[in-house]
């Protein structure tokens, strides 16, 4: 067992740290039109130093960093208080799918533009009648000359209010539930698309509804085989639940801020919750290091998803209990944490997965 960093990683860490020290600045909320553009500009700055997608191949804008180096990047990024990633949905949800199931043409057309934030992607999984139950999707894609016509409604599409393109599953053939779905990419500014922003708890439109009325998608924007969309989407769904969506660095940084806050507002009755937040972040960090040598299975990603989402809520709740009603600097993170146990598969669904697929309890 060895927790030390190799020389190349130490060097990379130093580069990232000094770059961030020189460049990090506060931005407006990415859920406003101007804030969104500020975040796009920040992504471009990262990309110009090849720091937007460090683990990707160089040809697409990355530097082929190891998973360990990616974790180190994330620790530095969050420790520096750097901005949220407006490109997150594309980088962490769509890109892994393209690496696994896309064509060479799709990868070279889509990934470099994603890395530079020239195209910002929104996810379009959920529909009004399908929350946790994605297999019950109803939106359709109907064959037409040279492509497909999308029709239906998507909702809870994060970033869609201001993003450029979106990815989602559509019904293309007969078949119950999981069958007959196809993974498609579409332009949010195409004819037939209406986007209606939904105000979140914080009042800003982090989500949107997307109404699709015969929206044309060319054949080259089908990912994987027609009718194989469920398998294509699920093969990388672990990414959303597990490692790549919420890196340990995020929680380590927040736990560190909580410890500082406690030192300024010490209330011994809340001490254990403060310490447990730090211990939880550290546990998640080490657990992730363990996963570097033996990658997590899909169900194992459910374990970490429940863990980090509950850790995040507990951590922010503790900050609010220390501060009271006036909680400058913590409210946005707290509101964001409340979504954790809900999205990317509710924690109730995740616990079913853990019980059935890891412990072997009957369905």
């Amino acid at each position: 067992m060895d927790l030390s960093l190799d020389a190349a990683t130490v060097e990379f860490q130093a580069e990232v740290r000094s770059w961030l020290a020189a460049h990090v600045r506060p931005l407006s909320s990415m859920d406003t039109a101007s804030g969104f553009e500020e975040h796009r500009e920040w992504e471009r700055q990262l990309a110009s130093s090849r720091l937007s997608v460090v683990s990707w191949p160089s040809e697409f804008g990355g530097r082929e960093a190891s998973l360990l180096q990616w974790l180190v990047f994330e620790e530095e990024y969050h420790a520096a208080g750097a901005p949220g990633r407006v490109s997150q949905n594309g980088i962490f949800l769509l890109a892994p799918t393209l690496f696994a199931h896309g064509t060479d043409e799709q990868r070279s057309r889509i990934l470099p533009a994603m890395a530079r934030a020239d195209e910002v992607w929104a996810q379009a999984w959920s529909e009004p009648e399908a929350g946790s139950d994605l297999a019950s999707l109803r939106s359709t894609a109907v064959r037409c000359d040279g492509g497909w016509l999308l029709r239906g409604q998507k909702t809870w599409s994060s970033r869609a209010a201001f993003a450029d393109r979106a990815f989602g599953l559509f019904r293309t053939g007969p078949g119950e539930r999981h069958r007959g779905l196809t993974y498609l990419l579409f332009d949010l500014r195409a004819e037939g698309v209406s986007v209606r922003p939904i105000a979140q708890l914080d009042g800003e439109p982090g989500f949107a509804e997307i109404f699709l009325d015969d929206v044309f998608v060319p054949d080259h924007d089908v990912v994987g085989a027609v009718g194989d969309g469920w398998r294509v989407a699920m093969s990388t769904a672990g990414n959303e639940r597990g490692l790549t969506l919420r890196s340990p660095g995020r929680f380590l940084a927040a736990a560190g801020r909580l410890v500082e806050l406690y030192r300024k507002n010490p209330d011994p009755a809340l001490r254990d919750r403060v310490v447990d937040a730090w211990i939880g972040a550290q546990a998640y960090r080490l657990h992730t290091f363990g996963a570097l040598s033996s990658p997590l299975s899909g169900p194992a990603a459910s374990v970490t998803k429940v863990f980090w989402s509950e850790l995040d809520v507990a951590l922010h709740e503790t900050a609010l209990d220390l501060l009271g009603e006036a909680a400058p600097g913590w409210r946005d993170g707290w509101l964001f944490s409340l979504a954790g146990p809900i999205y990317a598969g509710t924690n109730e669904i995740q616990r079913n997965v853990i019980a059935e697929r890891i412990l072997g309890l009957p369905r």
Binding site: I198, Q200, E325, R331, E348
Partner: protein, 269 residues
């Protein structure tokens, strides 16, 4: 011994429920003369039940207990260090030790609930030099009653949602996890209510603080479960749950945090 609400009190709750449900908010017109703590608890449970916003605790319960003959409009009052700032109102008061003063708002603070704007106060002329000690406790108790009503409302709307919303081909209320979440919520609220009513009868610091602790935890736990079971729709400002949830989170630490009130309970034991 008769630890139930009187018929008049039950009727008052019903009248207020209809009043708020009809969209009316001019509460002073209905409950101007209410001063009995149990009656006030009935009023504020309904205020919470409809997530009515504004400095009602201060205007209807605390300020009338602090000083007689206050003018028209809404009032807010700070008791530093226990309640360090004031919520938005027409007029402001400040209690420092035994001294009651007029006050004016200065800096606005970032509030957990945007509908509850918070201000720091600067002290003005002295109004009185003997402050009735129960005024603060009355504020705490009304806050507890309001939290209870907020919790009840969120349990009701979440139960309705669990019956209506289907996933995997059945109402989500049929899943045992959902049942157990809501059963726990009901237990918490059900056992917090007698503490609120008991405190209104005894009006001791011990009992009032205990009621505030129990309602803060029960109502906030209800909000968390309500959000979890509503899913993404509960996370939107368009859904009424958001008003209830943010108000509950604010009132949980308003009028003294749960930790402060646990300290007061222990001291009184």
């Amino acid at each position: 011994m008769n630890f139930t609400l009187s018929e008049e009190q039950t009727d008052l709750a019903g009248v207020l429920h209809g009043f708020f449900a009809a969209g009316r908010r001019d509460l002073a017109s209905v409950v101007d003369e209410v001063t009995d703590p149990v009656d006030l608890v009935v009023v504020f449970e309904e205020v919470g039940h409809h997530a009515v916003a504004g400095p009602l605790i201060e205007t209807l319960a605390v300020v009338p207990a602090l000083t007689s003959g206050v003018g028209e409009g809404s009032w807010s009052v700070a008791f530093p260090p226990l309640v360090p700032h004031a919520v938005e109102a027409d007029h402001y008061l400040l209690v420092e030790g035994d001294t009651l003063r007029e006050a004016s708002p200065t800096t606005e603070l970032s509030s957990v609930d945007p509908t509850r704007r918070l201000f720091e106060l600067t002290a003005g002329p002295v109004i009185a030099t003997e402050v009735p000690t129960h005024a603060f406790d009355l504020g705490v108790l009304m806050c507890a009653a309001q939290l209870l009503g907020l919790g009840r409302a969120m349990l009701e709307m979440t139960t309705a949602h669990a019956l209506a919303r289907t996933q995997f081909g059945k109402p989500i209320g049929q899943f045992q996890a959902v049942k157990h979440h809501l059963a726990n919520v009901l237990i918490g609220l059900e056992l917090a209510r007698p503490l609120v009513h008991g405190a209104a009868v005894t009006m001791t610091t011990r009992d009032i603080s205990a009621a505030k602790v129990a309602t803060s935890d029960a109502a906030w736990n209800t909000a968390r479960i309500a959000l979890q079971l509503h899913g993404a729709i509960g996370y939107t400002a368009e859904h009424e749950l958001s008003r209830f949830l943010l108000q509950t989170r604010a009132l949980r630490t308003a009028w003294g945090s749960p930790s402060l009130h646990r300290a007061r309970v222990l001291e009184a034991l």
